[in-house]
Amino acid sequence: MKKINNQFEEFGGKYIPETLMPLINELEEKYFQLRNDKNFQSELNKLLIEYAGRPTPIYYAKNLTKKIGGAKIYLKREDLLHGGAHKINNTLGQALLAKKMNKNRVIAETGAGQHGIATAMACAILALESEIYMGRTDGARQKINLLKMKLLGSKIHLVNSGSQTLKDAINEAIKDWIKNVNNTYYLIGSVVGPHPYPTMVRDFQSIIGKEIKLQMYKKNKKHPDIAIACVGGGSNAIGTFYPLLNTNTELIGVEAGGRGLKTDDHAATLNRGSKGILHGMMTYILQDNDGQIKNTHSISAGLDYPGVGPEHAYLMNKKLAKYEIVNDDEAFNAFLLLSKTEGIMPALESAHAVAHAIKIASEMKKSRSIIITISGRGDKDIEIINKMLNYV
């Protein structure tokens, strides 16, 4: 039996400016009140079933399994959720919380745009105002998602500072929150930021792992041997891992190796980073010797982040989960392979998890099983894929 801990020992914390402290404390208090509130949970559950489309199926990828020739590969289809990604599990939970806290203005950051869309949707049905911060570079590579957010009623702020990606979008969202303390709720999209966000977002995403546990057990009368998920901030991975921590399932997170770890163009925070403080939390970060945050690179905007959720740092240090690397080209090939063998286009983020599964499945016995969380669908990435293939 592996031990589960709600605090992440030296990781996590609240490294935030004083202005935010009363807000974070209020949020913490309110969240832990509602966490066990039956009405809140049933309201959220109703939204998850009727609006988001839960539960999502487990699919046995027969063709891919045959092609690789080893362990049975299963897919947890979070890509089938409304909005096309796991992000809605979290945004519905937090938007509902914002509503209960009487905050009518919601702000959020987004990298690939999936969290922005999920926020816009949750705010639309709960009649909340939403404003989304997105790095200009990310906005340019995810134009369709930018348009979707606008159509769903969100106001978009393109961020010009720093590397103009997710990290900078988070900075600007936090600054917005400092300015608008009275009416604004900051809806963070991953298991990052000051406490209680990493715990809260993990709780909302844990529905993924809870379902996997039940569904896989129903299918095979045992837990999966290995669970694999991609890690940027790490919300779909924690959601997958957390409920499986008390089983014997081996947990593997996959980080973006970008152009390779020999270059500086990657986002392999746990593999190549060191302990530090960013965005209100103590965790592993990619930084130089002076403590300045490094620019990262990944083919997938959603993994392009120099930090990682503090619970992943904790799980790695406690050896409760392993963290592997997949490069841009491997993720790209995995995207193509899954598309052709199973007719499923994974998000480039999720394709990292698929690529790692492909690597290890062939070495495993046929009686063993791997579950991959397909955190989102690949429609948003087809322009990037097309650029590399020159198809049309």
Binding site: P22, S161, K175, I293
Partner: protein, 268 residues
Amino acid sequence: MSRIKDSFYNLKKKNEQALIPYIMAGYPNDKYCMATIKSIINNGADMLEIGFPFSDPLADGQIIQNASRISIEQKMNMKKLLSMIKNIRNETKIPIIIMTYANIIYQYGYEKFLSDAKSNGADGLIIPDLPIEEASTYKQFAQYYNIETIFLVAPNTPTNRIKKICKICSGFLYLVSTYGTTGTKININNELKNLIKTIKHITNNKIPLGIGFGVSTTKDIMLLDKQYVDAVIIGSALLKIINKTYPKLNQTQIKISEFIHELKSATK
């Protein structure tokens, strides 16, 4: 006694507020920065606050964030900062306060940082993203090396929290004047004045009160009652002058000297 405490003690006797200009280390380049600092200390600054850049400065507005980026591009690092402080210390006796972010000092090592800062002549520290909950190791070493730990309070900080902050805060208590980042326009209305009085009442006059984030003119200073406000911190407004006059160093020095002189007169 420390340099900061001495300074407040002497200013109190003269019924003056402390003028604390803020400058970003190595901005727009090392030489320019040192020349600017000279103009600041030669024209009546009571203390000097030096910012060390961080790539992701959550508490700073556009002006200081931009200066941070340029300072990092100019290869500012801790070694350079410390030798810069040593040089300033050779020129002046006024207290020197370093302002930077938690990751910078965590990366350098809390103990090494506090020890090196002190031995090179720094007197106090401001770390805006290190709230009291996360500050125990830092505070322990700061006490050991005899460096003042200046903590911030915001307009929404509850009374019991202000009391807790005062327990580990030393040098002065730094009031963030408005909701927002550095350089946000201050609004000295009755609300702020009442807030200042309330905080002063809570601190029971045991620790001086400084105000920053948006204080930018002599008028702002005049509106802040000397009975309650012991120090004013001016940052973004100074950087604006540098931005306007750069690269004419002579012009920068003249304008900065005039500005500091005016501000100092307003604190008397």
